[in-house]
């Protein structure tokens, strides 16, 4: 039963490319928890100290606007991971999480994770490389964003869009590229309005 869970860990940004044996060890130290529908797991601003892996059920991630109304950011289903960076640093939660259905989660607490890394430094080293690679990827993308924005200011609209085009793979970045292209279309329409 743990096979899909291990696959999911293996696909996550922090545990990517980790050997199966290491992830099995990690699953062993995770604690199982059940939440009835409607229960809040944590609130925005709470100290974050654990990673969640959804075994079954559904989690709603939400935050609040300035007026204090709830805004749902996303729904996460079976075998999704959230709060992954909380095991690495002690930043407060950036959003709240609530069970949208009866939900079972496996939780990795920071203290357990740290003990695990003490016993398996190899895993820590591999994670370091994973995250460094991710930092590079996003930094590289941001430098293209920077170039694109400058192109925009020079009136070079097509080049601005072309600057971001070679990027692919990451879902979040792809969405941003689309938003950017749409923005350039709007700007062009307004600038050539006459």
């Amino acid at each position: 039963m743990s096979k899909p869970l291990i696959d999911q860990l293996q696909a996550s940004r922090v545990f990517r490319n980790m050997p199966q044996s290491a992830l099995e060890g990690l699953l062993k130290i995770m604690k199982s928890e059940r939440y009835p529908a409607g229960q809040v797991l944590f609130k925005r601003g709470d100290p974050g100290d654990s990673l969640y892996l959804i075994v079954s059920g559904k989690i709603r991630i939400f935050t609040y606007d300035e007026a204090g109304n709830e805004i749902t950011l996303s729904f996460l289903g079976e075998s999704r991971i959230f709060g992954d960076f909380s095991v690495l640093d002690d930043q407060p939660r950036s959003a709240s999480a609530q069970a949208a259905a009866p939900t079972e989660c496996l939780i990795l607490y920071r203290a357990d994770f740290q003990a695990f890394i003490h016993a398996n430094p190899v895993v820590g080293l591999a994670m370091m490389r994973n995250i460094a690679e991710q930092v590079r990827l996003i930094t590289d993308f941001l430098s293209h964003v920077n170039n694109a924005v400058e192109r925009l200011s020079q009136g070079e609209l097509d080049q601005a869009v072309a600057e971001l085009e070679p990027h692919h793979g990451d879902e979040e970045l792809a969405t941003l590229v689309n938003t950017f292209a749409e923005m350039v279309r709007q700007v062009r329409a307004r600038q050539t309005a006459k």
Binding site: L88, L142, S143, Q191
Partner: protein, 689 residues
Amino acid sequence: MEPTFLLNLILAVAIPAGFIYLIYLLDLYGTGKFSTVLVCVLWGATGAFALSWFFNNRVFLPLTNSVETVRISWGPIIEEIAKAMVLAYLVGRPRFRYVVDGAIYGFAVGIGFSITENIFVAGRGELIDTLSRVLSTTLMHATASAAFGIALGRFRRATSARQKFLWPAFGIVLAMILHIVFNVLNLYLRGGAIVLLVAVGIGAVGAIFIGYQITQALKEEKKRFEQTLSTNVGVSSGERRALQVLGGERVELILKEMAEQFGEEKTVKIRRLLAIQANIGILNGNLKTTASERLKKAWEDEIGKLRQEASQIQRQLGLHVMTFFRNVFPEKDAGWREEFGVALCASDPTQIHQFDLFMKVSAAANTVDVQTLERRAALLQKAEIFKGVALHDLEHLSRAVSERTYRHNDILFNEGDEGDTLYMIEAGQIHLYKGAKHDEKLLRTCNPGEVVGELALIDGSPRSAQARANGELRVLRLRREHFNMFISSRPEVILAVLQFLANRVRETTKAIEATANWATQVSRGNYKAASMLGFSAPSADMAIAGEAPPLTPEKITTSADTAAALPVMLGGAFMRVASILEQREKAVEQTGTHLVGELAELPDPQRKVIQILIRDALSDPRGQPRDLLLSRIKDSGVEAAESVLADLVESGYVSVTGSPDDPRYKASLKRRHRSAVDPLKMWAKPDQN
């Protein structure tokens, strides 16, 4: 049944059973499982005894007609052979590996045999007689068979054919002699305290003999491991690395053998124990070097923790494995332990303090004084990547730091170089440039306290920019190789760096979100909201430090070496570009396109065409396709669009690419005239217009 008989019967079984329980309790059952020990007991108690009984009573007794003769001649001989049979069977199996196994299995057979024998001869004698008889025969049987077991253990490791024959022969003869001598003594000493004394004597001699043999065997085991591990002497330094890898492989061989002997679980513990001992040795060596009190205390604390862990593991390993361990890796042979530690390190560098070993070997540990180390550590701790790393660790790491000064324009590294060093500025500035020599762009200026190449320290990817000294420059340099060595065996440092990286990802993710918001706002034409996003993009601690690089339009390229500054730069760009876009749109809306200088004096149709070209240039400065362009010129009310355009080309205002029939034909205003109508220039400074 009489009570004394019952008591004697109980004693006859309880004493041997007690010995078996002792083997179980002390975890002495060696290579195999405890079930192998029971198999031996069972054989001794049934098969061996039955065989002996048959030969003694049905063959030798009728032959000699004297119980006494049988007891001091044929009896012992057939009994020892019968007991030895199960050992001879076992010696071919993987659970009988060496002398210690032989001793334990032999001991077990003897105990088993004596249980049955004791039951058979249990009488109604005095308690003291029974006690001494049971104790002495049990010990005699056990010791004799153990002697043969030991000999078989020797046989298993023997290399020459002669030894392979001699050891078993010697073993069985020794067992027989021991047995005969005991029986002879027993014949002349008629019971009582004196037999008890003899029993104790036999026990002592047996224990000493077995103990001696085991120690000898383990010494040989150690020698064998040393030979497996030993690398040929007199190798060049170039070969050392290759040999280290080899050492790692050999350690794995030895550990694999131990896993066959003691099982996987215990071998993992043995490996950890070896690593702990190597580290304790390394840390004790560290304590003799120059270091601050803080660092020394950290080392002492670590030694204390390791000792605790070691004693815990020792308890878990049990007597048998620990006997093996203490003899094969004796505490007093520090050289051998260290050698093994180095080899273990090559096999798994995360378990042994490889950095410390390297410092010792390279004799770099004592070359730097305490004040310098403390100064460097204090400087390093200012870098984000080291923020979560303890000061004593940084002091230690500082031994691998080198200091260097550069003169103005000296190159620290070139674009494309392997990223193998981190630079921390102590005094002066570093300029990062991108692009070829004649067309280079200044990406960023780095000031004292700033670091260049943090990510390179982790992933070693190529430099994405050139770094040059701006004025006199003094830096601390840390090589990736040393950093990796240091960090691999220090999980708490790994965790600190992970935290740094996680923060970086959070920051860049925020910048991505800010970009998405900005694009959405610009899309909707909410330029005020868009330029406000410029303030939220950079992370708080980067914005307040005042170390943010000046934001100028020419810094349009950036690179991984300037990663930290990116969100700040983006924030600035968002603000600036939003207002440029806004002004440009306003200008388009309100005034159409302005012309200045000679362009303004052109005849009406030509001026109109140029205005169209300029407006097109706003969306695409590379020009417009011919058909689209001509139709727009006609739309603006200019007749003979083609000839007007041709005139402009001829008089040098407009350039075209491709012939008029070419689908790739494009026309655009020539660059030298563009400045006269450059929307940036016109609209950024409206007062001049």
